[in-house]
Symmetry: C2
């Protein structure tokens, strides 16, 4: 603490100064600003948005039906629901376990699954239950929430000129290493892995993922495994859950979401799995069940997902629901395939798009990410996401998403493959 603090100590409300370390402008707000400026200057331009990872297909009919039914239950005092369990209703948790885990030979207890209102929220909050002295590791590029929430908590140092925080271990994932992160040389304790990856759309094989589980076991580290895009996996050797890897139950927390699986970005439901074996330690070396800490956090700072929304999520697991969400995912993955083939046809190096709804392309001629953003916007009226927004190793890359409508996606492809026009 500075002398100035001592001078004022205890006589005014001090803010959490870690917040002031964060760069002012968040990636998507900068994109918003540039798009806004462009549309003001070009009011007739028809912009196609392949930037933010937001779904566009309506909710599945089975989900809609379940919500109408739940709404009616809330209208009748005999079926009305007040506070539910903070961890989620067992009708939903049991379906999650049966369909998402037991079907792959993974057994979980009902008290190992915590229903929540989003994986952004859970991956942001999870760090609270760990000490500030832990070192974190993130892949680079990375979903910004992992880093920002650790900055806010005070687990990072300062940001250097290279865009990296001093107390974070960055694990580069680039075309050069095939987007396979290398185990850190030093010791880290909290390892964030997002697979299938946002933003690169790439995955790890079971063999590669096992290296991380083994590292965590050897080093008593914990893997924070974000698999929000699991439903998009098409290839066989790609693990759907980290618990398919031997030993993962002792070291991994898994985050899953209905946002991309079933179009719930505006409906809000997700869940987090913490097996009882996952162990943290006190500074004295005593072991602590991490599941209990999260349970305490959630019961104290959360009040559960709306009953209606939990019934909506449950309907995803009905026979009709399963077929309908599969159709949605196929719709987006056809877009992904079309975008990727278009880019490759144009001579771009493009990655992802096979087991994830993201296509990660190398910008041409060493162009930086934001210049490519501006070029795509001004010449083709297409919005994407600059790779550098996801971290220093995202510089020179660019993300396109498969979440637009088929018509918009086809139109974007048409623009990219035709001579530049000003009539979009």
């Amino acid at each position: 603490m500075s002398d100035a603090y001592n001078g004022f100590g205890g006589i005014m409300t001090i803010v959490n100064e870690n917040y002031l370390k964060l760069p002012g402008s968040y990636l998507f707000s900068e994109i918003g600003k540039r798009v806004h400026k462009f549309t003001e200057e070009n009011p007739d331009a028809k912009i196609i948005r392949l930037g933010i990872g937001d779904v566009t297909r309506p909710l599945a009919p089975a989900v809609i039906e379940a919500m109408h039914k739940a709404v009616d239950e809330m209208a009748d005092e005999k079926t009305f629901r007040g506070y539910g369990p903070e961890q989620g209703y067992s009708f939903l948790i049991e379906k999650i376990i049966r369909f998402d885990y037991e079907s792959r030979g993974i057994n979980l207890g009902v008290d190992e699954v915590f229903v929540s209102d989003g994986s952004k929220i859970d991956t942001g909050n999870i760090q609270e239950i760990f000490g500030l002295e832990n070192k974190i590791a993130v892949t680079d590029p990375v979903y910004p929430v992992y880093i920002d929430t650790n900055v806010m908590a005070g687990r990072t140092g300062t940001m250097g000129m290279d865009g990296k925080w001093s107390d974070i271990t960055y694990l580069p994932c680039t075309a050069e290493n095939g987007f396979v992160p290398v185990l850190p040389e030093g010791k880290v304790q909290m390892i964030y892995l997002c697979l299938p990856n946002n933003p690169t759309g790439t995955t790890l094989s079971k063999t590669e993922l096992k290296k991380w589980v083994d590292y965590a076991k050897t080093n008593k580290a914990i893997i924070l495994f974000d698999s929000a895009y699991e439903a998009y996996i098409q290839e066989d050797d790609v693990p759907h859950s980290i618990y398919e890897i031997e030993g993962a139950r002792e070291v991994a927390i898994e985050f899953r979401s209905f946002s991309k699986t079933a179009g719930f970005t505006g409906t809000r439901c997700a869940y987090t799995v913490i097996p009882k074996e996952v162990t943290g330690y006190t500074s004295a070396g005593d072991s602590v069940e991490v599941n209990k800490l999260w349970n305490r956090r959630q019961t104290t700072k959360f009040n559960g997902v709306p009953y209606i929304i939990q019934r909506a999520a449950e309907a995803v697991y009905s026979e009709a629901g399963q077929a309908q969400i599969k159709e949605q995912i196929n719709y987006y993955m056809k877009n992904a395939k079309a975008i990727k083939e278009c880019l490759e046809g144009l001579g771009y190096k493009a990655f992802g798009g096979i087991n994830a709804p993201y296509i990660w392309l190398k910008t041409p001629d060493g162009m930086d990410s934001w210049s490519f953003f501006d070029k795509l916007l001004s010449e083709y009226h297409i919005v994407g996401t600059p790779g550098v927004g996801f971290g220093p190793n995202g510089e020179g890359y660019f993300r396109l998403t498969a979440f637009a409508s088929k018509d918009s996606t086809d139109e974007a492809i048409k623009r990219l493959t035709s001579p530049i026009s000003t009539s979009y």
Copy 2:
């Protein structure tokens, strides 16, 4: 940090050890255990629950109608909604401002209101944006979330034998001082006030509340004003919003909820107001807009309330919705009146119940809170909440809620006023 930590430093995942300071059993889980034991031993007993503050009336027809409509919008790609603004949709925020504030002469900007999934969540998270060096003050008894979340963050010391944390200033509210807290002698920075109060059901007059606003202005402190029970206020001199008090815009954050206002405990919607004038400071003494910090927190760690639920909340402000929720509140307040009159008729000292759905009674003959709990459960098969569960100064008190059905409330009153029977 202990020597033991240095020995292990950086080689295993350390938990947030503040969590381990928290007492194991939360109030309502201990109640649950005792009730469970009793019902196992007395399987035929018909228990009446006047314990947990959960509503029982179904949602208002206007709310149900709005939700059905919103569900249908989610079924059509033309009206489907993905991610909304983390801060809430303007259609809801504008209604909140117009109905809850402008009607009382308070002006707010749309960026001063943050829609969320609950006041428990917001009052729990708000401390994150402030430094750990701030001293907190709470009324005693108090809603446990304020304290527990500060313990988790590391803002408190250790719990003493008297049930008090060493770094918290407790402001006793008892029958002796008419439940009017006295300004602290030392300096505090974060002051939690819940008015109308949970658990005591009491309120402060504008004159009394102004003393706190003046204290906060003089001392550059911040008032965290939880008014989840505002809709239950019946008397004239009781402020509905802290912003009715001159100067409060500079020092107060206000929390409001649809949970008790419109029966949303299982539907989940609330909001937090942070005027732009509310100021915190860096340790160097520079001022910081608190609104901006909360905005950063919410955009990073939250993804907004479900679209359907925001439409439900909006419907509370329709003409029909306003009339329907008033009817719900009258229903509960008739229960409150009946319980209070019953207790007073039996010679109890009973407080609250006039501007809040809680009745706070002094246990007879100096009986402690848990003994009274056991007596009420075993003799009358009625569940209430022991006052000591809300803090040391709650010892010797007991909370009953008005949220049960009229039939259950009448039955409870009948039991209390009749000779003890074993046939309930």
